[in-house]
Symmetry: C4
Subunit: 272 residues, 4 copies
């Protein structure tokens, strides 16, 4: 903790330390995306094998609970993006450098493909309609939804995800709006801040994880409900299904970028 | 943060800043209501299209999780009411001015109607029994429930919602009741406060969001279970179904107002 | 807040203030029990009317979410017991005086009976097999479970509930066990305390509410799964079904008392 | 609290106190494992008796909610491992001494067997296919999964559980990475830390409990989904079913150990 006091100088040691932290972050992002993709895919594969009617609540709870846990576990290592569109939105709003962002996206793709491969090793294959487990889990738009419906749906879902992430994981508004003087005149807004300066950041993984949960209920019948290009990429590659693959990258990145800029509007400090 | 120290004067700059914060709050309320209504409606529409038996847990979890996330995301921007009856209750208890309250309600209605329109663009229409998706999602009392049952049900549901909001998002009781001296004689009540002065406000979005979740289980078979006039208004307008529309405004406002005053009783400071 | 400084004297004013706080607590306990019983009963009644197969998750989530919300809302007013066996356990462990405890239990019974009556006014009656809605919701042991099975089950369920309440809502162990010196040698236990002296009390409503949720899954097929004599009393009175009524009072009080004393063992300070 | 100030000396009194805290921890671990195993088994037994199709969400919510509650309740007494593979991972990473670890594992096995015995006393036996309730709940690999699939699945599930435990319940990374200077340049990572030094440890029971919840969705069709040798041991002993019993110990310990060392990599402080 004596390091807290020292000035930030670009000495050789500081450079080495920064590099070490970056490498660890990239490896963390790989591990964290591996775990996320494995968890959501294994959940679906498990219920295909159990031959139960897939209860829609299962997928949503699995995704939501896993996100809460993984964000608490990896937030201090890599930020726990596990989604290229999240990384993209932090790049264009200058919260992550281009280099780091591209390293993150590469790590996410490697991690997600590894997850799809380990899936093959854990789920015996006869239950998956002639294909392997990855092809059974590949995401594509619903046959009766045109590409415009699906595109708009993916854009909105990713918008919601990234908006919530930005709003709860970064400080948002002017300091003296947030401060509530206890018992004073300012406390009229419903606010989640208290006088001890506590912010909502500790609760961010809950808010973000629950968001990933309810998003699972909204778009399945239209776009397949991915809101994460890495999820689509992994099963597309291992399961050889590239239907409308480009759409998930473009729509998700557009929604994510729009969310980043929209939230920036609300977090702008007032300057006369 | 140097602004924290300065006295609150009605200088031109301060006036401009206040106006800017108000405008941002109204726009935030519009966006937040748009998202809430879109999320709950898209969830239902998705399951109509999937032709699965609608699992009642899906609607409740979607509403509950979305509320938790949106309240954390918008609480510091607008207070995250996304419900005209919540705004009404803060107006009559003088926590929101009449002007601001009316602007909020207008923003909520605009946001909810936009949500219903975007719904038309995302959900292809053949699955919705001849009408559009909005008419399929319109809320009305159950045929065999008389208007009195439905009115009372809506009133109770909104009472519960607003009571919880007031109790968890505002400080409630005399300060020295709340303070628990650690290890001392006062700690006999089950209390959620600790000596570091932490209040329950950080947890408010969880308590309120879970409340919106369980309310979905209670009144569907009687009143349709709206407890939010903006939810009813959006699908009434876009789906052209105005059955008993007035009832949702009157019953919900009555329940909300009653809750506001009841909770005020418990939060009154003792004065001999 | 100037009251914080003043010595606690038994002046007339202090007496009046204490009485006012007590009256408010008793009324709060009545309102809170009314809401809890109404919420869990209306959930069941709603699904009887909807003629859906009652999804077991619905009851558990409704009970769990409602408990989280009500405990956050009423903890600082009355402690949010809403269960005579909880009050009983705080009486015998001297956390609540006999007088206050008896007033609480009376308030809980009045509140729960009011809830059953309002239920009659909100749920039209033809769906409830010839009886009213309260008789359809009355709790009794399963026909093929003998009274010993049911008694033991109720005792265990209430034990779990009260143990969790005591362990999370009161400070439990020696201070210097709880303190974790950051980066020091003491931090080897998985602990939920940090150096800023934060306790788990702020999370207590979540832990207790989730407990009420999962308890709903455990005993329904044996004892009916009440773990709350007020829940049994309200529908017994309004629905006229007193089968094995005494058992719920005796078994729940025994389980609650045992839990209180067991947890006291773990929270005992070490004295050579 | 005057004990906080005194130097830690190995006086007789200090030794006695340490022994007392250790004994209490071991007894706490026994009680906590008893409760956990009883809760998850009673949930399954209840639904076998109710003859409803077992909703997969029930098991996951029961396990997840119970874990959240029990970890908040017992974390300060024993650390709330209730799983020999968790204890094993803390032993090999030197967070728990060998002696204490072995006492914990013994206590966990005794507690889990007691739970299986009490299960016999609470669930009348005719519904359990000729065997007792414990044999109906015994865990074994799926018939069509080879032992390799099952082994790998158990290893991954336990890896996920222990990784999350280590990452959220211990401080993980260099201090000055975690610190976010409010409004400063460092706050670019999504982080759950704030300037008041709050760590994520208060949320650990939520992250860990949710993890135990979603793990229930993933491996049932392959390995039976135990990720806890004590869960397998209790019903194996009382229900006399030792199929592939060794596998749960080896695979779970391997996964747990691997997780402990992997997370240690991420929590290593940088030293040039």
């Amino acid at each position: 903790q004596e390091e807290d006091e020292q000035p930030i100088v670009d000495s050789e040691e500081a450079t080495n330390k920064k590099r070490w932290i970056l490498i660890r972050a990239v490896i963390g992002e790989l591990l964290c995306t591996f775990l996320f993709i494995y968890i959501v895919c294994a959940t679906s594969a498990n219920f295909i094998r159990l031959k139960t009617v897939m209860n829609p609540v299962v997928g949503a709870l699995s995704t939501g609970f896993a996100s809460v846990a993984l964000i608490y576990a990896f937030a201090d290592v890599s930020g726990a993006h596990f989604n290229p569109s999240v990384t993209f939105s932090t790049m264009i709003t200058r919260k992550t450098s281009i280099t780091k962002g591209l390293m993150y996206i590469a790590a996410q793709l490697v991690g997600s493909v590894l997850a799809a491969l380990i899936l093959l090793a854990t789920f015996p294959g006869d239950d998956f309609k002639g294909g392997n487990v990855a092809s059974a889990l590949a995401i594509e738009p619903a046959p009766d939804a045109n590409i415009g419906n699906a595109f708009l749906m993916e854009m909105i879902l990713t918008f919601i995800l990234v908006y919530v992430i930005f709003a709860v994981a970064f400080d948002t508004v002017d300091n003296n709006v947030k401060t509530v003087v206890r018992g004073g005149k300012q406390g009229n807004n419903l606010t989640i801040y208290n006088t001890s300066g506590q912010t909502k950041a500790g609760f961010a993984p809950i808010a973000i994880g629950f968001t990933l949960g309810f998003l699972c209920f909204m778009g399945g019948s239209v776009s397949g409900g991915a809101f994460n290009p890495a999820r689509v990429f992994s099963t597309a590659l291992v399961g050889r299904n590239w239907t409308a693959h480009w759409m998930y990258w473009i729509a998700d990145f557009l929604g994510a970028g729009l969310a980043g800029f929209t939230q920036s509007f609300f977090s702008t400090k007032y300057n006369k």
